[in-house]
């Protein structure tokens, strides 16, 4: 058992997008704020901070979850993936990101990291989704600009492309 005092900052180490990172956090610090302010990984956005909007969706040990509903200290020893890890090291967009780009699936872009991280897990588990499947899967991500039609189109296009070229 590890008991961490509220008055101290504690070292937190995990693997972020394949690279080890570390920083310091009080127990009450949210993982969103740790990623953005302690690590400097600002791709994960902060929306509602109570698990509704989906903007802060990241992957923890492969599972898409809300970073605003996790404490930084809970990330200790985990594998964390964020939107920064989707593109290749050469900057080439993933199939999913490229499909969002082609389909105008973002306007202001604030919600986009959450949509991408939700879909990155969902499409791994469901490689041949219907439009209804995608709409249900994305019900936990809110977008105030696009009206969703382009996002759904991008997700379906990415699924088709990933089915023929699984490495992307």
């Amino acid at each position: 058992m590890r008991v961490l005092s509220k008055t101290e900052r504690h070292r937190v180490r995990f693997v972020l997008n394949g690279e080890p990172v570390e920083g310091y956090a009080e127990p009450r610090l949210l993982l969103t704020d740790f990623l953005r302010h302690e690590i400097g990984a600002t791709g994960t956005h902060v929306g509602c901070e109570h698990g509704i909007c989906g903007a802060c969706t990241i992957r923890v040990d492969g599972k898409a979850v809300r970073a605003c509903l996790l404490l930084a200290v809970q990330a200790e020893g985990r594998r964390i993936d964020t939107v920064e890890g989707l593109a290749g090291r050469d900057g080439r967009l993933s199939s999913l990101q490229a499909a969002f780009h082609r389909n105008f699936a973002l306007q202001c872009g604030y919600c986009t990291p959450g949509f991408l991280m939700s879909l990155s897990e969902y499409l791994e588990r469901n490689p041949a989704p219907t439009e209804a499947d995608i709409r249900l899967a994305l019900s936990g991500n809110l977008c105030r600009c696009t009206g969703y039609a382009e996002i759904v189109a991008a997700a379906l296009e990415a699924a088709r492309e990933m089915a023929t070229k699984p490495a992307g």
Partner: protein, 275 residues
């Protein structure tokens, strides 16, 4: 929206968690998946002195058939139950209800037992437990006890759990041959809190209906001989007896109407499944 400060304990066993509960009593809050507790911490609706994180206790992350029930441990997630290959055959009511709980991203962390402990009146898992007549296993450093669903959930966000107790597991009765099960709910958007949620179990002319989202806890009614002619009157009387109230989401009248209309549909669906 940031939590007030608290000490944090990451437990590796139930004994560690129970020792902390004994020490801190109601100053402690158990966190399993955190999908209800974290929003409450962020909004400072709760300010515990210590958060007892049990999510890493691997020994409690299980789901297995035990006698006439499926026993689910304290850290088993809603997503894991949804993915359990036997859920459709063993727990058809839960198989129907699980996709309605939040979103897959919250089910990835949210636990079955955590939802029961949070005891929101509109939650799906407490409604299923009440309707199926399941039970909750509690433990403290000094004793172990088992409570029936109706004796566990006492009201709005209120359970019979003592401050030094932890819910170790829940037991959902297995589906029985000749019985049909159905679940429906209505919400403004998928994943929102249910305005009205309904769970039905039918066996011949016997009908059991559970309703969530109207009273301060799930309410279950059983009729021994309910034919098609008596259904409308029975549902109307049940709807009025729930004593719902108006709130920001819906009026009491709308909720009664949903109990009558969706109640009929969910009972018909359960009857079809039984035959």
């Amino acid at each position: 929206m940031k939590p007030a400060s608290f000490d944090y304990a990451r437990c590796d066993s139930a004994d560690e968690a129970l020792a902390l509960l004994k020490e801190h009593g109601d100053e402690a809050r158990i966190m399993a998946g955190g999908q209800s507790l974290m929003p409450m911490l962020n909004m400072r609706l709760v300010r515990p002195a210590i958060v007892v994180d049990i999510s890493a206790i691997a020994a409690l992350s299980y789901c297995r058939v035990e006698g006439a029930a499926v026993e689910i441990g304290a850290t088993f997630t809603q997503g894991a139950l949804e993915a359990w290959p036997e859920v459709g055959r063993r727990l058809p009511l839960l198989a129907a209800a699980l996709p309605e709980i939040g979103h897959f991203q919250t089910r990835n962390r949210g636990t079955v037992c955590g939802s029961l402990c949070h005891a929101d009146p509109s939650s799906e898992l407490p409604l299923c437990l009440a309707t199926l007549g399941g039970e909750v296993v509690l433990r403290s450093a000094r004793r172990r006890r088992t409570l029936k669903a109706a004796d566990f959930q006492l009201g709005l966000l209120t359970t019979a759990r003592e401050p030094d107790e932890m819910v170790m597991a829940v037991r959902y009765p297995l589906a029985r041959a000749g019985f049909g099960y159905a679940f429906r709910e209505i919400a403004r958007r998928h994943g929102d809190f249910a305005i009205v949620a309904l769970a039905a179990i039918c066996n011949g002319a016997t009908v059991r209906l559970g309703v969530g989202g109207v009273a301060d806890r799930p309410v279950v009614r059983e009729w021994a001989n309910l034919d098609a002619g008596g259904l409308a009157d029975a549902l109307n009387e049940f709807a009025w007896g729930l004593d719902g109230s108006d709130d920001i989401h819906a009026t009491a009248r709308y909720r009664r109407e949903m109990v009558r209309r969706l109640g009929k549909k969910v009972i018909e669906e359960a009857r079809r499944c039984a035959s």
